[in-house]
Amino acid sequence: MNKLIVNTSPHLHKKENVSRIMWAVVLSLIPAGIAGVVIFGWGALRVIILAVAAALISEVVIQFLTRKKVALLDGSAFLTGLLLAYNLPPEVPFWLPIIGSIFAIAIGKQVFGGLGQNIFNPALVGRVFLMASWPKYMTSFTLPLKYDTVTSATPLAMLKEGKVLENISHWDLFLGLRGGCIGEVCILALLLGAAFLFWRRYISWHIPITYIAATGIFTYIFAGKTLLSGDWFFHILSGGLILGAFFMATDYVTSPLTCKGQVIFGLGCGLLTAIIRIWGGYPEGVSYAMLMMNAAAPIIDRYTRNRIYGTK
């Protein structure tokens, strides 16, 4: 009779847990990393390794010092370091990704109490900190496939300065043959990773699609010389929009829980990104838009709470 096990609900179990999902996201980001290294050379790999190592070490040190359970292999610190590296230009001084990762883990995550408690996406916190501290390094990009430090502006920065973009086609943008951050340039590789996440149902369409659509529609209306003449396809392909929309805005901790809330979150991100790109001081607004909507996520959750069955 030992085969009968008396147990309380829930009875259905899934093998998924936080660390499996984290490692799956890491896996889905690998194509973009390989593409970044191919496009920008070994400097990009150096940045990725430094950022990931610093993130892991600072996670262990802080968890040890605060006497918490050391959870090095849950993948979250690895993912933070990886995402931060993908948001850095390939030829930065060696200490920049290290400081960024330490800041992202310490101030972005552990100060709030560790994984699941942070208000803002830690990798974005790290990136914005570096951007505000050392803008000189954060905005000098290298040319693709040249493997030396010939600096060039990103397509968005050129657009901001009023230059005409003739030598960059949409196809170049799609493959990643442009100046930019390590992980954001190759849209093809990013879409591959995103498809994997969709297939495993780790992310839903609500945030990424509304985010990208809102950016596209808004830039189509306002980014051109006259209304309804913006190059919306260029705006979707350039900058960190694809990386941000699929891999960073969908972070479970810092995005709303309900589908309705996620749609609002995505629309807000898209709107803010487009506003910053068109009228703001910076050429790129993805990270600031997401941080602002991260801050709004709790209140979105409050107003889009699902009705509990049996209540009014």
């Binding site: 900190f129 505000a132 501290s133 050392w134």
Partner: protein, 197 residues
């Protein structure tokens, strides 16, 4: 005499206006970009605090209960005006650096807070001691915050370059850096307090 010393020392650590009472954060955030500004602000606020605490302790029995806050403000504003004109006359550079934050000492919550919470209830002697202690505590806190911010934000201390080749993080010279430094220091001091218990 013992109590006089006690009232003085409590303002420095046990009831530090910035880190324990968390008062007067507006000027703290705004002027702590460099140590010189921090010291200037600390001294100016200390002077106003000293003057207002003494006067209010002297006249506390004549102030009608219901309009006491306006009365305090009038006294405080007098001393702020003195400070501002003195600063304009004798150190115009500091006056320019501190800008609007000197007249804003009028609404500095440390000054009003001590008037309301202390000077209106205690004798002149202890009010003077309290004002001195609070002033010193505020100045020390400003020096600490501004030293961290000046060093990290511009690589200098008191205007002198410390390390060659050190690349300052300009975020610490911005308001966000001020909030960051104050938040971390507050957390740090709370941690020490918790460990002591």
């Amino acid at each position: 005499m013992k109590r006089f010393v006690q009232e003085f020392t409590k303002g420095i650590i046990k009831e530090n206006p910035t880190f324990v009472l968390v008062l007067g954060l507006c000027p703290t955030l705004a002027v702590s970009v460099s140590v010189i500004n921090g010291i200037g602000m600390g001294i100016a606020a200390s002077f106003v605090l000293l003057g207002s605490n003494i006067i209010i302790a002297l006249i506390k029995n004549f102030i009608p209960e219901r309009i006491r806050i306006p009365c305090y403000i009038v006294v405080i504003a007098t001393f702020v005006t003195i400070t501002e004109l003195m600063m304009k006359a004798y150190s115009p550079a500091l006056d320019r650096a501190l800008g609007i934050y000197v007249p804003l000492i009028v609404v500095n919550c440390i000054v009003l807070g001590r008037a309301e919470a202390y000077a209106s209830k205690h004798s002149v002697r202890y009010s003077l001691s309290d004002a001195l202690g609070m002033g010193v505590g505020f100045t020390l806190a400003l020096i600490l915050i501004s030293a961290i911010r000046e060093f990290l934000g511009s690589g200098k201390l008191l205007g002198q370059v410390i390390f060659k080749g050190f690349e300052p993080a300009s975020v610490f010279a911005m308001p966000s850096g001020a909030l960051l430094v104050i938040g971390l220091l507050l957390g740090f001091f709370n941690l020490i307090k918790m460990r002591k218990k």
